[in-house]
């Protein structure tokens, strides 16, 4: 390690260059005999739009000190629009790395055309210089990590009087009975009591007898939307706002068909754990009313939603903008990752993670070694965050189900807020609007790009 700190240490920078412009530009730099530091390892790709963010994440986790990505200038893409998708993707990736405390200067995006040999050499000089000043990358450096104080202590009392859960429960039962007995649905997906005094568990009610077990109370925090895909026939779901948002996202992605679901939308302003403390996952919930529903169950059991705020809304320690330094953000991220045992419960409980073959299972491209060391955990969570960018509906299931108490929702919320700020899109609101990450605009800002805007 000591030799890396010497003055003439040359960092290792992985460079993804698009074949048509940037690679040609690099070639031109070579044939023009322009000097630049031997720090870069070039990987040629057909288009910057082909670059999976996982390549960049893996490069950082596997020990690269820096990553450079370069494509054609917007408007000049050989495949017409590849770099436009890439632009949005990399802006979001850079923000993700920033939130997680990876020094943002280590990963640089830029555009170099085939005739810009000189510019290419400059770009390499610039990134090498920056990375050299930062020193070797130590993604697994735990020295800054310390134990946190338990955040939930900051939320004190909870008002129970605004909501009459019993009235809501009787309306839910009445609606379910009507839907099931009239044959409008084949199954009602709701909650029933747990035999071991835990929080209510999912109920798949197919008969009147099953429906007798239906309950609704302040402990019904589990997200029921992941079960919709496995049900045959028509299903009714008792949907809290978070479930309803998840359903909207699944509809946008064509994973569910609207005709087969009857949504009993229930108003909610936060669920409680077994000690009657607010559930972590509910903090920062973006909407207290279901965006899509067929039947409404408001806070007083009526048909008009009231949209009451929750006491947890005042707690903004989740807000990533309040964390100033990159070291603080890194320490927070690593402290949470340290607890993770890579059990993948968060992935299974997430309504947005429904891939039949998750990248962790694939062997033909061996994205994920089963090592469970810090590097693999970082790679998993960064990749999952990137896959959820613009798709996460902040339901909090990931935090609620994690057996180790890992709290990474702040990352997904941070990215969601960023995508909302930049592209005016938030998942789970409108089933008709296409997702932000699968579209582009010619006016997308190049935040954090080399030669672009400062973040």
């Amino acid at each position: 390690m000591d030799e890396k700190l010497k003055d003439n240490w040359c960092p290792t920078i992985v460079a993804f260059l698009c074949n048509w412009c940037s690679y040609a530009g690099a070639d031109l730099a070579g044939t023009s005999r322009l000097q630049y530091p031997p720090s870069i390892r070039i990987i040629r790709v057909p288009c910057s739009g082909r670059i999976n963010p996982q390549y960049i994440i893996r490069a950082l986790v596997d020990g690269a000190d820096g990553v450079l990505v370069s494509g054609c200038h917007p408007g000049d893409c050989h495949y017409l629009t590849g770099n436009m998708y890439a632009r949005r993707r990399f802006v979001v990736l850079k923000r993700l790395l920033d939130i997680c405390g990876f020094e943002p200067e280590r990963v640089q995006f830029t555009w170099v055309s085939a005739s810009e040999g000189g510019r290419f050499a400059q770009v390499v000089e610039s990134i090498t210089d920056t990375v050299r000043k930062l020193g070797p990358a130590l993604p697994g450096d735990m020295t800054a990590v310390s134990e946190s104080n338990n955040r939930s202590e900051s939320v004190t009392s909870v008002s129970l009087t605004d909501f009459d859960y019993r009235v809501q429960e009787s309306k839910i039962r009445m609606l379910s009975e009507e839907l099931l007995s009239s044959g409008k649905v084949d199954v009602v997906l709701g909650f029933r009591e747990d035999t071991d005094d835990g929080a209510p568990v999912p109920l798949f009610a197919r008969t009147r007898e099953d429906l007798q077990k239906l309950v609704w109370n302040r402990h019904c925090w589990r997200n029921l939307s992941p079960y919709l895909k496995q049900l045959n026939g028509k299903a009714a779901i008792i949907a809290k706002p978070c479930d309803s948002r998840a359903i909207v996202n699944l509809l946008v992605e064509n994973q569910l068909s609207r005709e087969n679901i009857v949504i009993i939308g229930v108003e909610c302003n936060g669920m409680l754990d077994l000690n009657d403390m607010p559930i972590r996952g509910c903090e920062g919930c973006p909407s207290k009313v279901p965006p899509v529903y067929d039947h409404a169950v408001a806070s007083d059991g009526g048909n008009e939603f009231m949209g009451l705020p929750s006491p947890a809304d005042q707690d903004n320690s989740n807000d990533t903008r309040t964390m100033r330094s990159v070291h603080e953000r890194r320490a927070r991220f690593l402290r949470e990752i340290d607890k993770c045992i890579l059990c993948y419960t968060c992935r299974q409980a997430c309504p947005g993670c429904y891939c039949a073959a998750c990248f962790t299972d694939r062997k033909m491209t061996n994205w994920h070694q089963a090592d469970a060391d810090l590097g693999e955990k970082i790679a998993f969570h960064l990749t999952r965050a990137m896959h959820l960018a613009g798709r996460c509906v902040s339901c909090g299931a990931c935090e609620n189900v994690c057996p180790s108490g890992v709290n990474l929702k702040y990352i997904y919320d941070g990215i969601n807020d960023f995508i909302n700020d930049q592209y005016g899109y938030r998942a789970g609101i409108d089933p008709e609007v296409p997702p932000a990450m699968s579209s582009y605009s010619t006016t997308d800002r190049e935040i954090g790009f080399l030669g672009g805007e400062r973040p």
């Binding site: 059990c343 419960t345 299974q348 409980a349 089963a370 299931a397």
Partner: protein, 358 residues
């Protein structure tokens, strides 16, 4: 049998002295969650509380265990060798270690697992009696009571504000030589001061420990039926419908032991790791041809229950469940193996009655 009476603080100090030569796995609280972790600071140890959310099997069967390395000149050993101590093992986990001993031995399918054996020889277990039930515990139904200590090297009973370390294995006695306590007569049963204990444990404790693998002892949760009949006649669907296939149950379970080999290449050296795998994962039994004998969650949940309660009983006479309740507490879908097994037993009994009448 030797025993030492010692205060909690002296005990913690004694553990601190052992850190020089041993790796110590103990219950500590990290970010609010009580778990078994390898410690560097004995002051963080929390004894006698709730059950740590993961089990001590990490010492014998780690999440990721490098077992061998493929190098140019041959295969080298990658197995961990430093002596280990696990402290604060409650009776359910003590029983689980005994079960793992049998599972990884030649009593189960004829082969001894050499890597497990080596770790086991290097491990000293210090158990502690259970004074606090956790939600979902049902160890008594499997024949384990709160002073069960068979197989431990030392067992701590709580006597007011003092701890009594009963040294059950004389060879482990030297570990405690540096501890600042006074020798006492060992007590066959645990603390007498149980007024403050919750009503669940108010009943009389037997004077001899009960052993869940003892064929004479009747564990109340005993599934006795032909496995083919159970496959067809039990409605497995209703138990597993809310299962998400996350595998957390198998991770926190003290006796779950299914594993996989993953080869990792770094700097030209390939290390073979033995990693936890889970029968609840969809791809657990997936053939390369695409055929999967257990295609849905129903088959996988059935495998988990019957493996623990039936197959291991047939192959090596143990019911591989200690009733610790960890899987029940951590399941995101509310699947409950206790409820499932009780339901299965009552269905079998109903069928038997029907068969007897006919």
């Amino acid at each position: 049998m030797k025993a030492i009476e010692i205060t909690l603080s002296s005990f913690i100090e004694g553990i601190g002295l052992l850190l020089e030569n041993y790796s110590v796995l103990a219950p500590v609280r990290y970010d609010g969650i009580l778990d078994f972790r390898w410690i560097d600071d004995p002051l963080k140890i929390e004894l006698g509380g709730q059950l740590p959310y993961k089990s001590p099997k990490e010492a014998l069967f780690p999440r990721v265990e490098p077992i061998i390395r493929f190098e140019k000149d041959g295969i080298t050993d990658a197995c961990h060798e430093k002596p280990m101590i696990v402290v604060g093992v409650k009776p359910c986990d003590i029983a689980s270690i005994n079960m793992l001993d049998i599972i990884f031995s030649e009593k189960n399918n004829k082969f001894d697992d050499p890597f497990y054996k080596r770790r086991r020889k290097n491990l000293i277990t210090i158990g502690i009696e259970c004074t606090q039930k956790s939600r979902g515990c049902f160890c008594e139904e499997l024949g384990i009571d709160r002073s069960f200590s068979d197989g431990c090297d030392a067992f701590i009973s709580v006597n007011g504000d003092k701890l009594i370390i009963n040294i059950l294995n004389p060879e482990a006695g030297s570990v405690f030589s540096g501890f600042d306590g006074r020798p006492v007569e060992s007590m066959a049963s645990a603390s007498k001061e149980d007024d403050h204990i919750r009503p669940d444990f108010a009943e009389d404790r037997p004077s001899t420990p009960q052993y869940s693998t003892d064929p004479d002892h009747d564990a109340k949760l005993d599934i006795s039926a032909d496995e083919r009949d159970l496959f067809d006649s039990i409605p497995w669907n209703i138990y597993s419908e809310s299962c998400l296939g996350c595998g957390t149950c198998t991770y926190v379970c003290p006796t779950c032991h299914c594993f996989e080999f993953r080869d990792v290449e770094k700097d030209g050296v390939v290390t073979r790791n033995r990693c936890w795998d889970s029968c609840m994962y969809p791809k657990f039994t997936l053939h390369a041809s695409g055929h999967n004998p257990r295609p849905t969650q129903k088959e996988r949940f059935r495998q988990r229950v019957l493996h623990k309660y039936l197959y291991l009983k047939r192959n090596c006479s143990i019911i591989a469940c200690t009733g610790c309740g960890r899987c029940i507490r951590s399941c995101p879908g509310g699947v409950n193996i206790h409820r499932t097994v009780k339901d299965i037993i009552s269905r079998i009994e109903a069928q038997d009655r029907k068969g007897a009448v006919e």
